[in-house]
């Protein structure tokens, strides 16, 4: 299976549907194992931070969700380019499927960032560079979500979201830099949320496990949503009706 042939095969949603069943199962199980071990390890076994005490354990949820939220948007930017340049249907589905996941992860990152800020700085919301970038990212997700629902025709909505995703992705680094420059300038003494790698291994190992776990979860969830998009767009075709004859997907 050369890359070219894979690229060509990805063009047909039916082929993707057939091979994605096992892929979703594998990703889902790895995600479950990784997330459970990472969480239990982080909560119960990792030593408390000498300065912050136990509130730093929120890092094991905050950092992975923030990472996957940003990666999801970059994926959507790439899917947007593929859709606009090569008109591949699967790219449109990836764009549509990633928005709810990315938005929920961004909201989680924001909430856990605030929950971490309260014991650390005494306030639920602080205009710190990281929390602000995350807030702007949430608006970018909401814009994509609202634009897709505002346009009746699915094919047109897909292309419009692709243009917005590409323009958005170009702006993300500029937004991050300008926010970092402006807000860190204002609070130079702010404790940066992600501790520097100076953390001892038994502290950042669970973080790594959780991060890998949340990316696997992203993969499993994305494949699940893609299969649904394929079913909805191929509703009338024979292969869908024959496959569903058994009464399950």
């Amino acid at each position: 299976m050369t890359l070219k042939e894979l690229w060509h095969r990805l063009g047909s949603p039916r082929w993707f549907y057939q091979i994605s069943g096992r892929l979703r199962l594998v990703l889902g199980l790895t995600a479950l194992v990784l997330l459970v071990t990472g969480t239990v390890w982080g909560i119960a076994f990792a030593p408390p931070d000498y300065q912050q005490g136990n509130s730093f354990r929120i890092i094991y949820v905050h950092v992975p969700s923030a990472l996957v939220a940003q990666s999801a948007y970059l994926l959507m930017g790439a899917a947007g380019v593929v859709l606009l340049v090569w008109r591949m249907k699967l790219a449109d589905m990836v764009l549509a499927a990633t928005v709810p996941f990315g938005m929920s992860m961004t909201a989680l990152a924001l909430f856990t960032g605030a929950a971490w800020g309260k014991p650390t700085w005494g306030a639920w919301w602080v205009w710190d560079a990281r929390t602000t970038s995350m807030l702007v990212l949430l608006f970018l997700y909401m814009a994509l979500y609202a634009l897709r629902q505002a346009i009746p025709r699915p094919e047109t909505a897909g292309r419009a979201c692709a243009v917005l995703a590409v323009v958005g992705v170009i702006n993300i680094p500029i937004i991050k830099y300008s926010v970092d420059w402006w807000l860190t300038l204002h609070q130079p003494a702010t404790f940066r949320l992600t501790a520097a790698p100076a953390m001892p291994p038994e502290m950042w190992l669970p973080l790594l496990v959780n991060a890998l776990g949340v990316y696997c979860f992203f993969g499993a969830n994305l494949v699940g949503r893609l299969r649904l998009e394929i079913l909805e767009r191929e509703r009338g075709t024979a292969w869908v009706r024959e496959r569903l004859a058994g009464g399950q997907l």
Partner: protein
């Protein structure tokens, strides 16, 4: 009985690209002057909003003065947003937008001309009005010049990036709020460097770096936005 076909028009026709740009520029200018009230509404909004701020703060000079730059820049953002709503609306409704996208050879030339007039009547106009607005906000005189520079350097990016959002939402009935949701996140960097430069200048810090950043963002927008606008218009015209 085949007749010699019509002479195929040259790729850009006798008027050439410059002629096409000039024709579109002239058309937009005349159209804007014909509907002067509608064109000036956003500028009236700017003064209205400043008045609301002053009323809200209670006219206290000191409080207004040290936030004058931020207030001015945020209101310039919102006023630009108002101009963007009408940017493609009228041409979309009467069918000339379709013709512009179809006949423009190359298509980004008339679009650039249209955005140039749009910027002149919003960004540039607000730069010229900045002294008056600054006066209402007790903006310190020594930073007035710099404020106008930041507006001049930053406002093109607002019109260019906002035009992409306007093009995406022109076909929708109630596209107004969606336009704001799409455009404002893209305005964040320009706002940060614009307002930031003014407040730093008040503290006596040198802000040429910030001005270069404003200009860099505008130039980036100038290279990316026209093509994104055309793609978005073709999608909205489907």
């Amino acid at each position: 009985m085949s007749r010699p076909p019509l002479p195929p028009p040259s790729q850009t026709g006798p008027v050439g690209v410059a002629g096409l740009f000039a024709a579109q520029l002239g058309r937009e200018w005349v159209a804007s002057l014909r509907t002067l009230a509608e064109t000036l509404n956003p500028l009236v909004f700017l003064f209205l909003a400043v008045t609301l701020f002053a009323l809200g703060v209670g006219g206290d000079a000191e409080a207004l003065a040290n936030q004058a730059g931020a207030i001015l820049w945020v209101l310039v953002l919102l006023a630009t947003l108002l101009t963007l709503e009408a940017l493609f609306r009228r041409d979309y409704d009467d069918g000339t937008l379709e013709q512009l996208v179809l006949l423009g050879k190359p298509a980004f030339v008339p679009i650039l001309a249209k955005l140039a007039v749009q910027w002149a009547l919003s960004g540039l106009a607000m730069t010229v009005l900045a002294p008056a607005v600054g006066m209402l906000l007790f903006l310190p005189a020594e930073v007035l010049g710099l404020t106008m520079l930041t507006l001049l350097a930053g406002s093109p990016a607002l019109t260019l990036l906002g035009a992409v959002a306007a093009a995406l939402t022109v076909g929708l009935r109630r596209g107004g709020v969606l336009l704001a949701l799409l455009a404002l996140p893209l305005f964040v960097p320009t706002l940060i460097f614009g307002a930031g430069a003014i407040s730093l200048a008040m503290a006596g810090v040198d802000v040429t770096g910030q001005l270069y950043w404003l200009l860099a963002i505008s130039v980036l927008a100038l290279t990316v936005a026209p093509f994104a606008v055309i793609a978005a218009l073709r999608i909205s015209l489907e």
